[in-house]
């Protein structure tokens, strides 16, 4: 295992110290509870937005704390959902009297821990809590009898858009409804060229031959739905985009935010090559790209690979997207 770390057991602790030191102007960190707070949280009268999940997905979620996005993020161990105590603490810490929205990615662990936290927070402090669960990964067949789809790329876009809405002073139910609408309008699909190594595990989660790739992966180094021969960027773009387009579906005349995300180990030059391919498929499909995002935003440690996310947008969502945001991981207009 080759990583820039100290003791594998200290990765999350050390990274939180680094985030605090690098971004003290915007965030403060509760190291006991592993919570990254917006420096001026709680904001009176503003709906508090918290998210959280396993670590190893940086900049998500801690890098999205700040003006126009999250009020707090709970950091779990690598790829392991945080515990209810953290989420309850964060919920209380960002409650400005207007209630708190939990942004939860649809993984059994995240959902159950956030549920317990909400029960505790409501019992304990009487804070009104609503939750939105993101489940945008088309690689997973959806069904009533399964854990359902994973929450992936849409989570990033949702945190930005809902953050802008909360900044405008909308009510908890308005913000929650918007979050639901956004989740329902977005779809994603990812692939990997390499596996990744959980520090505490010390070796790659799976092995891939030099001529293979995993398609339909999540963000935890899990193997994907299928293993295919390595292909050119053009074919990979189609492999990721086709199931997305047919799922919602998206088509002629739709306007979208197009998001090509790196999994952590893939350099930007390759992401731009992918974006070009994806963009040409949009044009073919008659889809208008209103806004785009290219880079590492929701990662899986040092995994090489990428994911594509499409979010159908109307003028209101585009306006919320353009609203000022000032976080370590996403910043404009401020």
């Amino acid at each position: 295992m080759k990583k820039l770390i100290n003791d594998p057991a200290d990765v999350v602790k050390d990274a939180l110290l680094g985030i605090e030191a690098a971004h003290a102007d915007r965030v403060r960190v509760d190291h006991t509870n592993k919570i990254i707070y917006r420096k001026d949280a709680p904001r009176q009268g503003k709906v508090g937005l918290i998210s959280g999940g396993g670590s190893g997905h940086e900049p998500m979620h801690g890098g999205f704390v700040g003006l126009g996005m999250l009020d707090a993020a709970c950091a779990g161990e690598v790829f392991t959902s945080p515990v209810p105590d953290q989420m309850m603490e964060a919920t209380k810490g960002v409650d400005g009297g207007a209630g708190v929205l939990h942004i939860v990615k649809n993984y059994t662990g995240d959902v159950m821990n956030f549920e317990m936290a909400a029960e505790m927070a409501e019992a304990d402090a009487g804070t009104e809590v609503k939750a939105v669960v993101t489940d945008d990964d088309v690689a997973v067949q959806d069904s009533l009898y399964t854990a359902g789809r994973r929450g992936v790329g849409v989570t990033v876009l949702l945190e930005k858009l809902v953050g802008a809405a909360a900044e405008e002073g909308r009510s908890l139910s308005e913000v929650a409804d918007l979050a639901k609408k956004i989740n329902d309008s977005g779809r994603s699909m990812g692939m990997a060229l390499t596996s990744c190594t959980v520090p505490a595990a010390g070796k790659p989660t799976f092995e891939l031959a030099d001529n293979e790739m995993e398609v339909g992966i999540g963000i935890h180094g899990e193997p994907g739905r299928t293993r295919l021969p390595l292909a050119p960027a053009k074919d990979i773009a189609a492999l990721l985009l086709d199931p997305i387009l047919s799922d919602l579906p998206y088509g002629q005349g739709d306007s979208v935010i197009a998001f090509v995300n790196g999994m952590g180990g893939t350099p930007l030059i390759e992401l731009y090559v992918m974006y070009n391919e994806v963009n040409q498929l949009h044009s073919k499909a008659g889809i208008t790209v209103a806004r785009s995002l290219v880079g590492d935003y929701i990662t899986s440690l040092e995994m090489a690979g990428c994911s594509v996310t499409l979010l159908k947008v109307d003028d209101e969502l585009v306006r919320l997207w353009d609203a000022p945001v000032n976080t370590p991981g996403l910043r404009w207009g401020a």
Binding site: G109, M112, V140
Partner: protein, 209 residues
């Protein structure tokens, strides 16, 4: 005279040791169909539990088991944290003001714990989860007790049934938890949670008898 607080304490501590010894194996299993952390998660949690049990002194069985549950909820995270945590919390609650913990009372507590776990995770038989080890274990336990077996014999029967349930998860296509994302590819792999659950019941059989 039935189970004492110390008996239950040694059960939990043995489980902590066994999880420590098998952590790598549990993580291996999770690497194949999950995210390679089940052993790491359980080890982190049970280490905290062992510490809490060693430090604190507990008047009653329910106080002990509730402490175990709370500790797991607060330290494990992931799917196994709320599931194992809820299991021990409900176990404890079921033993509140039970002063003679005999085979029947302990069986009822185990079932209450598993019902709590099921309420949280909504697993069904065949979903390829820890529940596929728990369900046969509870049934074997109750059958043994109603057949007149001792607590020791009932726990042995439960442990064997859990192991069979664990093995039965191998061919299953997962419908719950991370493994479900793999679809057909999840078949042919043993479920990590069913494996740790079998270790827990095994630990009971070898300490509580």
């Amino acid at each position: 005279m039935g189970l004492s607080v110390d008996d239950l304490g040694s059960w939990v501590k043995l489980f902590a040791d066994v999880v420590h010894e098998n952590a790598a194996m549990l993580t291996e299993l999770d690497a194949a169909i999950g995210d390679a952390d089940h052993g790491i998660n359980m080890e982190r949690g049970m280490k905290a539990v062992a510490a809490a049990v060693n430090e604190g002194s507990f008047e009653t069985a329910d106080a002990l088991l509730k402490k175990v549950g709370m500790t797991l909820v607060s330290t494990v995270g992931g799917a196994s944290g709320p599931l194992y945590g809820t299991f021990f919390l409900r176990c404890g609650t079921a033993l509140t003001s039970v002063d003679d913990i005999d085979a029947a009372a302990f069986g009822a507590a185990l079932r209450a714990g598993v019902e709590g776990l099921v309420a949280r995770g909504k697993p069904e038989l065949g979903d390829k989860t820890m529940y596929d080890a728990w369900a046969p274990a509870l049934d074997a336990y109750d059958a043994a007790v109603s057949g007149g077996s001792s607590l020791a014999q009932a726990l042995r029967a439960a442990a064997d049934a859990a192991a069979q349930g664990r093995d039965a998860t191998i061919p299953m296509v997962a419908r719950k938890g991370r493994a479900s994302y793999l679809g057909e590819r999840s078949a042919g792999h043993q479920d990590p949670g069913a494996t740790s659950t079998t270790l827990l019941v095994e630990a009971a059989a070898s300490t509580l008898g």
